[in-house]
Symmetry: C2
Subunit: 206 residues, 2 copies
DNA sequence: ATTCTTCTTGAACATTGTTCATTTTCAAGC
DNA sequence: GCTTGAAAATGAACAATGTTCAAGAAGAAT
């Protein structure tokens, strides 16, 4: 049976507007940081009233969370593009790709990791799950490299290793903190993964 | 010569008030998070007007930054208390102590690492420097363990390793993100340091 | 064409950071 | 102790920004 509902004119406009609001919000976050994102700026740039933003996203956090959701989706897509031919190269590739993506979209990533909800409302579960899933992308290559290890242990190792890389990169790119030159950071991450794989017995000691 | 100026009544009150404002701001951040910190709440709890807060700290960021400054000072003091008898134990101790401190003061640490300035004003240099100094506390034990290595390389390694530990802990304690049980996190950090020291050739492969 | 539903609007409101003219407080000089 | 001048405290007013909602506009249904 055919459930394809033809889209009404109303829905078309609604969708177009929704996309435009998100595009503008993302651009502002990316260029000027989350703290510079203002409802009125978004509404004006999108050519609609502030009420429409609320009508579409419930509250302003809704806009931010939707941008964050799309950020982690884009990140995951990029990470999935890393070749899976050789597991060791794949691990290096995941770290290097994360660095690239973070460097390109630093403010968007900060929005994803640093945004806090008002009061104590919980962060949406689906976003958290997507982040964890992205961090689990080191799992398959690690399984191939450590075929005798417990699968639960590998899952934990994957999260740990990716979290460590995240820490190195997010602090390294923090222009607030004595900016590490990008080229040096790349080397730094590579060296780190290298040493850790050596410690796991995957690479030979040098 | 004796420069000890006896403190005027005026200065006494000023200092007392300053301390009280900071104490209250810290308590609010620690218990309800940075986003719940409001000038009026602080002023009321400190028994003074909002103007006095501004008079003392310039703007509201000034209050936050002062709390953050004291947080990194307290952190550094705790890290300096780690015994330096055995360098390997010292490294484990630094990681474990960071975990402890982070777990006890999660919201204060998040304020330190996640607070962004309005517009694009730069984060105060002295705070950044203090954070880097704290992260450099792994330098001395690493020098002892790798006596033949280049000192600049060790400095970088110290920052890398501490940043990695920071990433594991800050994401692990993120109750937003599928909370890792604290006991497990401790093990996780220990295992991580273990593997990395093995990769550096400091510990034997197992 | 008419009616009904839904969406849009933007002025009004609520919250919160910031300023500043006025008042108060304190210390110094007489 | 009183006077006076400087410094600080006050809080009402202002500014910036998130949020709501009654009224109107736009599209869908008949």
């Amino acid at each position: 049976m055919n459930n394809v509902q033809e889209e009404s004119l109303r829905d078309q406009k609604k969708n177009r507007r929704r996309l435009q609001i998100l595009e503008i919000a993302r651009r502002i976050i990316a260029t000027k940081g989350l703290r510079s994102l203002k409802v009125r700026d978004v509404a004006e740039a999108a050519g609609c009233s502030v009420g429409s933003v609320y009508n579409e996203f419930g509250d302003f956090d809704g806009v931010i969370l939707t941008v964050n959701r799309e950020t982690v989706q884009a990140l995951t897509a990029r990470l999935r593009g890393v070749p899976a031919d050789d597991p060791v190269r794949q691990l290096y590739g995941l770290a290097a790709t994360y660095l690239e993506f973070f460097a390109e979209h630093a403010n968007l990533l900060r929005s994803l990791f640093e945004h806090r909800m008002e009061d104590d409302r919980p962060y949406p579960d689906d976003i958290l799950q997507m982040v964890m899933d992205a961090f689990a992308l080191m799992h398959p290559p690690l399984v191939r490299l450590l075929p005798n290890a417990d699968d639960v242990k590998i899952a934990l190792l994957s999260r740990t290793l990716f979290s460590a890389v995240h820490g190195i990169i997010s602090l390294g790119l923090e222009e607030r903190m004595v900016a590490v030159p990008p080229q040096m950071l790349r080397q730094q991450v590579e060296q780190f993964v290298d040493t850790h794989l050596t410690g796991l017995g995957i690479l030979p000691l040098r």
